[in-house]
């Protein structure tokens, strides 16, 4: 009886160990994924707030900047595009394509906002408008929050990507449908520079 029973027990113990190990690996990956999805929610709240602020800003400026209709419209257009991209990214923050689209749309929005704010400097009445000041202050603060939340998101995505690429996780990630998620990088470095205003 000896060899069979001992063999069985060894096999069983190995199976237990293996199953336990695979389960814990899998759960680990799920946790990483949940973390970056939660991190995206932070960005989302701030993005939405900014999308709400922009129309107010434009509305306030409209009365003063009568000759800049094109710029104002461009801002609104960029805001709408970014909002649509944001909606898609919120549905699946793990989709690299959605994050990339959002990143491009956001950069465009930041560019047109910069242009708009640069132009608004030329209107002293507008510059002194209390409402405009408050909105701009709010916008700056929201942008700070977005960049902070973006950093947290990128940290979480990096941790997740590393986990699915290093050795034991790699095997589990294969059959568990864990795909690489994209970082949200500022896509066009030129656009980070403040825009020069020409008259």
């Amino acid at each position: 009886m000896g060899p069979i029973v001992i063999g069985l027990v060894v096999v069983i113990l190995m199976i237990i160990g293996f199953i336990g190990y695979v389960i814990s690996l899998f759960n680990g990956l799920v946790t990483y994924r949940n973390r970056f999805q939660n991190a995206y929610a932070q960005i989302d709240v701030q993005l939405k707030r900014r999308y709400d602020l922009i129309p107010n800003l434009v509305e306030t400026a409209k009365g003063y900047m009568k000759h800049e209709r094109e710029t104002l419209e461009a801002v609104i257009r960029a805001r709408n595009t970014a909002m649509a991209a944001g909606k898609q990214a919120a549905e699946n923050p793990g989709d690299p394509k959605a994050i990339q689209n959002l990143s491009v749309a956001e950069t465009a929005l930041a560019g047109s906002l910069n242009r708009f704010i640069g132009l608004s400097e030329a209107y002293p009445d507008l510059k002194a408008n209390q409402n405009m000041l408050a909105l701009q202050e709010e916008l700056t603060s929201t942008e700070n929050k977005i960049s902070f939340a973006r950093q947290a998101f990128n940290d979480a995505v990096t941790a997740y990507n590393t986990a699915i690429e290093v050795f034991p996780g790699l095997l589990v990630a294969g059959f568990g449908n864990f795909q690489r998620a994209a970082l949200w990088e500022l896509s066009d470095p030129e656009q980070k520079e403040p825009v020069k205003v020409s008259f």
């Binding site: 027990v9 709240v45 950093q151």
Partner: protein, 667 residues
Amino acid sequence: MDFFTHQDKARRNTFWLIVYFMITVVLIIVTVYFGIVLVGSVAVKDPKSRLDFFEFQPQILLLSTLFVSATVGLGSLYKTMQLSGDGSAVALALGGAQVHPNTLDLEERILLNVVEEMAIASGTPVPPVYVMNDEQGINAFAAGTSPQNAVIGVTRGCLQTLTRDELQGVIAHEFSHILNGDMRLNVRLIGLLHGILLIAMIGYSLFRIASHMPMRSSNKDDSKGALGFVIALFATGAILLGIGYTGVFFAGLIQAAVSRQREFLADASAVQFTRNTSGITGALKRIGGWKKRSMLKSIFAKEASHMFFGQGVSSQWFATHPALEIRIQRLEPGFKGNFEKTSIAHHSEADIVDPRTLGFQQHKSAPAKAPENSTVHAAAIAGVQHFESHPHDAVEHIGNPEDEHIDHANRILGEIPPKLFEEIHEPFGAMAIIYALLVAPKSDPTRNRQLELIDENAPKGLAKHTLSLLPYTDSLHPEQRLPLACMAVPALDLLSDPHTGAFRTLARQLIDADRRWTIFEFALQRYITKRVVMRKSEPMEVDASAEKLSKSFAQVLSSLAHLGSNVHADQAYAAGWTTYAQGQKIRSGAMPAMLERDACTLKQLDLALDTLAAANHRQKRNFLNAFSDCIVYDQRSTINEVELLRVISDALGCPMPPVLDVAPISS
């Protein structure tokens, strides 16, 4: 029965639970033994290695004991470790997503406010809240092992169908689980259940493996052995499967029996907390009239079914919750058992705050304006407000907040400037507020040093943000400061690890800037930084021998005595000791000497509290009574002393509701 009795009872329940499970495990071992011997005597053809069924086989008994205890032990250990500590592991496993503290969703906003109210009323840090978006049944749960690391989760169905009052009833029920120590019991239960379930799972795997094995081999001699092996594998698999499920059956009975009693208790406590029977009965009735009842889809829900508000998995024998009708009848004796059809509740903006306290909230929508007066603050620094009631009452209220506490919490929430209220709900703002709260008042020379520290070490946007919040935090009443800080927890929970590290370092630098700790800093340190760090690392083991305990007790008592008065410190100390000695039934002559003032640093206090936290609850009650007697010895209690008592109580794992009689916030 009070908080301490319930806690001890929960521990005793855990003890019996383990005894029952041991019995189940022994039964399983015996069955596995007979199973193997049976297979060995029937399936093995070779007469030399065949077993005699009627002969005792010590080797096999040893093997089966090893096998069963290793499986159950490892399975339980793995699951317990996975779930213990932070409650968010359970919440994530159940398919929950954390509600963003600054959510724009109306239903979620109402939920968060109800939770915040209840947390401040009961004196616990505000737990992060999870919503199971895929679940349409009406259900909720609390997870974590202590009030410090608890989380609360509700289903989407719960948010959609319940009114604010009913939601408050459900949340109060969950807080009762948190406050009565049920969660630790719950995790143990899941762990043990999982260990036994693992045997069945292995049996199932063996079954699958055997069915995929080739029956024939090219070598003729070999084929016979291989066939025997496959048959043995099949038989072992079947037996393990049977044993595993029988074990799970008995374990399920135990789970159900333990759980049902705790549910009645939690229902009763919910009424006690809110003084509103219709809230919780209303919620139970909605479950009865809802097509999805309280059912859950999650696979993990079966193992965790005893953690929920309502029956999550349909079953008669294993019902972890008493029948709805019976639960309702206990609270509302006239109930006949007819449920009306539940429809979707329509929430409005007005539901965000408690309608009963609307008066306090009115100025919340007023435009934000940085308040300038600092008189309240000055009074707070002087810390000389008297209050009438005896802190013993506060000790009696531990774990038992009442509706006055909820009103009080509501008032505190309502008085917090809207700007701060908004900022505390997101990670960036929460960090800034904690920094701002740690900055010393204007009159203190340390303030400039601290502002420099923030400017140097915090990221640029954050430093600026902190400065912009300073006027608001400077004008806060001391009574508002800790609750505000406690509200930061869910947002801080969302920080990534590098951010958490940076936050902790700077907070620590701000605390240490003046080379001494104030009580508020100490409290914040205990409530926030420790908690935020604790959630992300393993809890440490403390040495809690009787000698160490009494030393730590003397340390804390001496600190309180010195804090209360310069002249009568030794008498206050003796008064505290006498109370303790009476409670513990020991001679008061054995009093250890009071420590010198210099030996009573907050750092020492911090260490001593970690030790005291490991005592049992009967002892903790005696500690707390002693501390409060020491405080009232000089016939007046400052808000500093009361806050310190609350922090100590919290550090011991006994959340104390706010003391109501401290002078109300001037409006």
